[in-house]
Amino acid sequence: MKKLASLLLVVTMSAMVFSGCGNNGSSSSKKDDSTFLIGGSGPLTGSAATYGLSVKQGAEVAVKEINDAGGVKVGDKAYKLDLDFQDDENKEDKAVTAYNTLMDNDINAFLGTVTSTPCLALTKNAYDDGILLVTPSASALDCTKYDNAFRICFTDPMQGEKLAEYAVKTLGKKKIGIIYHNDDDYSIGLEKAFTEKVKELGGEIVASEASASKDNDFSTQLTSIKSSKADLIFAPVYYQAAAYITKQASDAGMKIPFIGGDGWDGILGVVTEPATVEGAVFLTPFTATDSSVADFVKTYEAAYKETPNQFAADGYDGVYAIAEAMKQAGSIKNEDLIAAMTKITVDGLTGKMTFDKSGEANKDAKFVEIKDGKYLVK
């Protein structure tokens, strides 16, 4: 009996070990001469899974659209696009493994990563390999440090500055409390730029409370902000933490409005009481209720039974940017593609953008308010 039990344990354990492998390759590449393979990497499982899935699905829509229209004409040859998207769980080690797998699959351009921390872990590898890297949504400044890297979304400091202007100039708030993660590049980047800009504009940061990104209890920090008499709280965190923070603030009887960065996008999917985020404003370059993006939203909703968010749009624009670069370059050689990036204009879902030498996209910011449990463009 004892032997049987332990045997059973061994079997289940080893079954678990093996079930971990093999299910993360989304599409194995059947590459031929007329296929241009785009490799992607982002969290498809775990607490940031929404971002990765959205980017992947947005990119899939773009790939299908381009292929249905006959592919990308490069010189006199038409290429079909194919997407190989790997799961990096928003972890550095997994991202490097995913990237190496993609390179082994012989990708032509890299769309990723979706989040900042994994992206920073592999920028140097991508630079050494000389491949074109277009990150849809990794916003840490150093993600585009190298010449081969370009970015669709705003950088952290750009977001922080635009939010500071919005808080002080548009909302007229002068006493601002901040709650951020001091172990997360995204959060620190926004917090720093925001603080500097608010001071420059004559506002005051009355409380700046740090937390860890794995935390789920923020009541201590919120109580401190409450006693600082702040009239606005800036929370540059991802949506899951934002859901904890807003819920706990409302539990503590706080009625101070919140603003946040684009990490807040998707928050309505994880809050249990929409009233706790009512009135919150966050920055985003894309919103599904815009009439100019209606076609994309329709296709996306039909395919995935959900409304696309900013990350889906970033993924979509990322694929189009790569396609534009292919056309412009007239070749699919790495160095030609990279050189073409600064010459293209992409009329994307997240705005009309051009890229400069630093790798940043030039485009405008939009603000979204949560009203009656819905996203509302300001």
Binding site: S19, N216, T220, Q221, D251, T272
Partner: protein
């Protein structure tokens, strides 16, 4: 808001998390007292409780009181099963073997939850909808009131059970001296099973309070409170029931106060610093009894 109100609110924050730690620490301490082992799978019982409540309310669509009882029963049965399958065969093995088994059990539970429910957090709407109250300018959230009432009631009931009932005496006897207790006609196996059941039922309650507070369920949600509660049990004197209560609440308050008035980054360092100091001064923990080794 003045300094007094702010300090009071921070104290309440600490008291709330501390009382959840205490509930979990009780499980560690009771099991250690009886079975002389650290049940590292205890934290994951909290997680199982959270998923059980979620499944009870969604998949089985049970009414709330039934769902709560269902959760407690699932955890109690799980506690007994863990003991029977993993620990009982090792009762006379070296303590290292038991320790490794306990860690393995913890990973097994986490991985099973990962396979069944995946790593994506499940949003869970709190089952407690009580409005907060305001006393002398101090906001007391409804969840804090419920948590404090529930944990106090459980601690009183547990103390009475252990000190006033026959089964409680049996538990104390087994923890004093297992061999002598068996000679006195106490069913040691049943007493150990009962201890695991009670400890796991307490973890179930802690799990319910925990997800009502944080409203999201993940396969690893039990890990952090589990570790903190273990520290609380050691702080209070592992094996001692009142020690676990005092240790849990003290830990919660120290954590909250150091986050609020010293530094968020240093909070964990301060918590463990306090543990080190207390163990240096009193190696058996705050309320632990130092037993002379029989040679």
């Amino acid at each position: 808001m003045n300094l007094f109100q702010s300090i009071m609110e921070q104290l309440l924050n600490g008291l709330r998390t501390g009382s959840i730690y205490a509930l979990i620490a009780l499980g560690y301490s009771m099991v250690y007292g009886i079975a002389k082992m650290i049940n590292f799978a205890h934290g994951d019982v909290i997680m199982v409780g959270a998923y059980a409540l979620f499944m009870g309310m969604t998949a089985l669509s049970l009414p709330l009181p039934v769902a709560i009882i269902f959760t407690i029963v699932v955890c109690a049965v799980l506690g007994i099963a863990i003991e029977k399958v993993a620990y009982k065969p090792l009762r006379n093995a070296s303590s290292l073997a038991v320790l490794i088994t306990a860690i393995g059990m913890s990973f097994l539970l986490q991985s099973l939850a990962l396979i069944i429910f995946s790593a994506t957090p499940i949003p869970f709407k709190s089952i407690i909808s009580m409005k907060g109250i305001k006393i002398a300018g101090v906001d007391i959230p409804g969840i804090t009131i419920i948590t404090l009432v529930v944990t106090t009631a459980i601690m009183v009931a547990l103390t009475l059970f252990i000190n006033k009932t026959k089964a409680g005496s049996a538990m104390r006897a087994v923890s004093e001296d297992r061999g002598a207790a068996a000679l006195m006609g106490i069913n040691v196996n049943r007493t150990i099973s009962m201890t695991f059941a009670i400890g796991s039922a307490l973890a179930a309650v802690a799990g319910i309070l925990y997800i009502c507070q944080y409203q999201s369920i993940t396969p690893t949600l039990g890990a952090l409170p589990g570790i903190k509660a273990f520290v609380a049990a050691v702080l209070g004197g592992i094996g001692s029931i009142p020690g676990a209560m005092v240790g849990g609440i003290l830990l919660g308050i120290v954590e909250s106060m150091s986050k609020a008035y010293i530094s968020t980054e240093l909070a964990d360092a301060i918590v463990f610093g306090v543990l080190v100091v207390i163990l240096l001064v009193k190696p058996s923990g705050l309320l632990g009894k130092l037993k002379a080794e029989k040679v």
